[in-house]
Each structure stands twice: as C-alpha cells, then as structure tokens.
Symmetry: C2
Subunit: 415 residues, 2 copies
Amino acid sequence: MRDLMSIAWAAKAAKADVARLGTDDKNRGLEAIACALEAHTAEILAANAADIEAGRANGLNEGLIDRLTLTEARIADIAEGCRQVAALPDPIGELLWQKTRPNGLKIGLKRVPMGVIGIIYEARPNVTVDAASLCFKAGSACILRGGKEAFHSSMCLTQLMRQALQQQGLPENAINLVEDTSRDSANEMMRLNGFLDVLIPRGGAGLIQAVVKNATVPVIETGTGNCHVYVDASADLNMAAKILVNAKCQRISVCNAAESLLVHQDIAAQFLPMAAKALAPDHVKLHGCPRTRQILGDTILPADESDYAREYLDYEISVKVVDNLDEAIAHINKYNTGHSECIVTESYASSQKFLEEIDAAAVYVNASTRFTDGFVFGFGAEIGISTQKLHARGPMGLEALTSQKYIIYGNGQVR
Amino acid sequence: MRDLMSIAWAAKAAKADVARLGTDDKNRGLEAIACALEAHTAEILAANAADIEAGRANGLNEGLIDRLTLTEARIADIAEGCRQVAALPDPIGELLWQKTRPNGLKIGLKRVPMGVIGIIYEARPNVTVDAASLCFKAGSACILRGGKEAFHSSMCLTQLMRQALQQQGLPENAINLVEDTSRDSANEMMRLNGFLDVLIPRGGAGLIQAVVKNATVPVIETGTGNCHVYVDASADLNMAAKILVNAKCQRISVCNAAESLLVHQDIAAQFLPMAAKALAPDHVKLHGCPRTRQILGDTILPADESDYAREYLDYEISVKVVDNLDEAIAHINKYNTGHSECIVTESYASSQKFLEEIDAAAVYVNASTRFTDGFVFGFGAEIGISTQKLHARGPMGLEALTSQKYIIYGNGQVR
C-alpha cells in the first residue's frame, strides 16, 4: 500500500511532467484510458461486485448500492466520458492578455495548470474516472479519495488508468488514489499544504462541511443547494407551475432541485391551488406558512424556520406567501446556499431587480433551476458546482481547474 | 465598543446596499473620505501620537515605529490614494460573455461584488484606508483588523471614513474595524463562515501562516517571496549584475526582493566576482555553496539548506552554482514561494524553457523581480500579491476583489 505522504510526494514530483504535456499527448492518454476500461470490463465488474457484497453485508441502503453499482453499460459510459474530455479544447497555454508597459516590459497573463488537485468524494466509482480525466486534461496531477465503500472499484479503475498512461510513456503518477481509507487519512489530506494546490469536495453537505472546517489547503466549496422558485405578481401562472414541477420533481436528489416556493400575495389565492395540483402526481409534501395554509387548508404541514433552511432532496418543499419582490429577495438572500434561484415574471422591472440583487451562482428568469450544470452551460464537462465566491462560482468546467501566471519579457529593466 | 459579531452582522446587512451603489456614488464616497482625512489631519496625528507613545513604551523597534508613524505628508498621500482609487474603472457589472444555448436559454457571466471582504494586517495605519477604499470601489463591505499597536490611528481613520460615507447618505457599515484587538477576536474572525466571503492576510510570514492554518473561511494567501535571480551561461553579465543589485538591494524589506542567486557553472568564475563587487557597496552578506566559495574564497559564509529556503528581507543572499538550466529550474521550483523569479539570458531556448517550467506568479526574462506590483502591472492599485493558485495569482487589483454570477434569461424552459 502506498501511504498518503508517498502519494503526495509522487504527485508533486509528477506535476511538472503533466504540465509539460501537449494537447495530443493528453488526448492520447485519455483515449488509452478509455480503451483500457473497455478492455478490462470484467475485471472492473469483479472489483465492483466485492464492494457491493461488502456494502450489502454492512447494510447500505439501496440508493447507495445503486450509486455504487457498475454495469457493462455504465463502464461504457465512463469510457465514453474520457473520450468526451479528450474532445474538449485544451484550456492550457492561452495568453489571456499581453501589454507593453511604459518602461518597455511586456507583461502577459497566461493560463497554466493548477499543479496538484485533490478531490474527496463519496462511494461513486464513476467519479474516480471523471475527476481523473478532467484533471489530466487540465494539465494537473490529482490525488483522489473516494468513499471507502467503493474502494475496490476505485482502486481497480485507478490501476487501469495508471497502467494505460504508463504504457503510453505518460506519467502514471498523474493519477493517484488514496489507499488508506481511514478518517485520519482524510484529515491528513485536508492539511497537505505545500502539496495540494486546491482540494474539491464532491458529495453531501456533511462531507463538504467537514472539508471546509478542517482543511488548511485552499478549498472550493461545492454543492449544497437550497434553491427557490419565486412566482411574481405578474407571472404567467401556467409557466410558473411547469417550472415549479420541473425544478422540484424532475430529479429530487440533486443540488439544483428547488426546495422552496415563494408566491406573491396578489396571485397566491389563484396560484397556490394550481401549484398543489401540479405537484400532487408526485406526492410532494408541502410545508406552508400561515397564509399558505389559509389558502390550501390545514392538511398542509406548517413550515418553520428550519424548513426554510432545509435542502430536502426529497418530494418535499417549503412554501411561503410574500408581500412583494423585496420580501422575496430578502428571504432568498437569507436562506439560500448561493446556488440557483428563479423568478417567474412578465415584469421587466422585477426580472432586472431579481437578477441584480439575488446573491447566488446562477439566477434565472422564467427557467427551471435544474439547468445549472456544466454540460447545459456549454462547458462540455463538470467537476462540480461551486457555491463560494472565490475562484469559480457555479458549474466548474476545465477552466476552473486551471490557474494563471504572469510572464514578463524585459531587456535589462531595473526599478 | 462594537463586538465582532455585531460588526459581522452589520457588514452582512450592508453588503447588498454597497453592491447596489453606482460608480458615481462610490466615487463620491471616496472623494468625501479623502476630504475628511485632509480636514481632520490634526485629529489623526493626535491618535497616531498615542499609538507611537505606547509603542515606544512597549519597546517597539524603530522599523516598526516608522511603519506606524503618520505625518501630514503621509496623510495627504493616503487621501490622494483614495482619489486614485476613485479614478480607476469600476470593475462591477461587466458582462464577461453571453451566449444562447440550443434550448434558447441566454446564459451570461457577469462580474459582481464579492460581498464581505476581511483583511487582517499589521500595525500600518495606511493599510486601513487603502484596503477600505479598494473594497468600497469593488462594491463590497469590509471588515478590517489591523495590528493592535496602530489601533488608535486605525480607529480614528475608520470613524472618519464612516462619517464621511454617512454624510453622503452612503452605507457607513461598508467599512468596519474590529475593535477587540485580542488574539481571540482574530481567531474568531478567521471562522466567520456565512459572513466573510474571503479573508486576505497582509503582513509577514507568521501572520499569513496563522491565517492559512486557522481560517475556515476562504483565504487568499499573500506575500512571502523567496525570489531567485538565475544567471544563465549566455547572459549579458553586465545586465545580470545590474538586475541582481536592483532585485536584492533597491528595497530589502519587500516580498519581491531577491533572496537567492543561481549562476550557471560555465560563467561562474567570471560572474561571481562581478556579482560580489556589485553587491559590495551595500555590504550584502553572501551565503555560498562550496563551488561559490571556491571561486570567491572562504571569507564567504557557507550556505546550507535553510539558507536556500530563507526570505532574508535584509542585505543577505544565498548563492549557488548550478550545472545547467534544468538544475536551476529544479532548485527554484523546490525552494521558491511561488512569487517572482528571473532568468538573465541571451538564449531564446533558455528563456522559453524558464518561462514555461518555473512555477511562480511572475516569471521574468531579463528584468528585476522588483516589478511584481499592481501599479507596475497597470492595475492602478494593489491589495496584495497572491502566492496561491486559486482565484488570483500575483498582484491583486480591483478585479481580484470581485466574484461572478451567471444570469440566465429564459421563456419557460424546463429540463
């Protein structure tokens, strides 16, 4: 077993080699990885079967078992994902600007690799390959730490990826999996200053908060989404109902799903019954404010403060009637997690005010919050959705995995 | 006294008001601040005198007393700095790109304020105004925590700035100074998650490391610079000597000053005596490797590992003869702090390789490392020099104090 420090040193030593690779070399590596995964499908399935068996023995619920499970088709999808990353434009080397200063210095800003990227994630073997291929294309080495329930699968995938790179004469230490799955190793990883240039947690709120609290290396906070749909006085109510159902129900377990509905008082009596009817086929449980319950009846659960702050990730939603747009904006800016927020309105003034004043990564007028996604935004891939304001905000594609440096051409200038 | 949490709540409540201000309002506020500082010079000098007296009583050394001292001229400079910030282009509101996606969604990326910016710095009262005016122009509220030795000066300056804003009908809680100067309050500030969108430490290595280690809010690491000058085999040796003297001696206490000289073995016998002679007028103490001492004699101090890693910030420099460019690059990438690095060379290949492979914020060919500075780079101002790779790298101007958000225009799209 490689311990964490030997992995950290290996990744650090490899980063210059990875950074130097040209686009063709990186794409050749990604294609080799895709082929290796396809060629060794049986081996991967065997490793995955061991994880599933252990998971069942340890009483993992079916949702987690499903996330853990690989099939021939899923492995083919993962391999296809590598080829899609290969097809993306290489973000490295672009000169963002260059200017000549009064003293003759030519100062340019260039996009360069991050160096070593750490990713901590849950028991989803597909993330092992997704994250590794994105980091590799972005010219960085990576240190991955997946959930221990998926360890055999992730280890098998990692070994295949490293072998594939090695066989192509490419640096195998570009891709590293933490082999010690104890909590100590996770905490140690969060404090690898001098080795990790950034650490990205991918997973549930608990994991992300643990990383934010304990890490001393730079972190990008991702993920949790307490997203709102606000239906303005002037909204097209049929459109509002469609957007609400899509945002709440199309996929309940994701961070860009809606968790709260705000309704302007002027249309509440008309819209709330429409909303309740539209959500009924999915048996969505409503947690309403007093005015909501006045309109929809006491069979609706009452909402308290904690409901407004909750990311249900389930067929549940909090509902509040607001006096006006200002109250809606204040409520959202108080309770949201900086992810995705939507207004449904036909008012120009309301749309502009909402876009301006809501503090979130993605602010929508008349469209579902479910669109916050790297593929939808046209990045071709996604490593996660940042909910912090530093470095990257919203869906992160390849560019979010890069850094910059100034290059300065002189001819003897001194100060 | 306002305690830290009431300050945090006040700043959080003010951030939307600051974000909403137009460029003219912000510039009006900055001009009012400049006038207030000029009009109350006597009051500021009195507060400053109290700090200096206490500093002398507590045995502060003369360097620190000098940094702490305000004069009429220095206050005029600080006021002038506010006007310069007012004259800078407003970074907020720029639409960086907008594109229409296949489903008709118009997705745009807009530059927006950071929100609440925290700055921790040492006993330099001028930073209180510099930092506040930059954050204000960038549309963010700030929470400042200066060294306790400058507390009376900083408090006086802060009150004047807040008054000036208030008199203009602008949000005074845009600018806040932490009034509790205990270490506890510093640690509490580093953990203001949910209040601080970023925390920037400005000061010596000890302060910066304390923030990096203890903060749970996003941090931008700034400052320490173990900068190298590498003299290649093909260098113009007279140019190299000039650059070396400038990088080492023009101002020894700053992070972009050179701390280490690397010399290619082919020109070491010729260049090292030139270098020693050029550094002699400033009585620079050399710490040399064995080959350096063979050439310059045993009166040169020997260099050990710790010398190569040291930021002297004094008239001292480590010197090492290297076999070739590869050894120089490996040495720099091992010991540097990611700040500023210089090669002196007439070789096209060497210059390109150095620019490509050195991992630092600013990489120079034939120019002094001393140029790494927001003003020199044309940003018009500087909040510090980032030595991390996340968010901002190198000198940080107004743009580095901003974030982004996606704004999405739809007409009923669902997924």
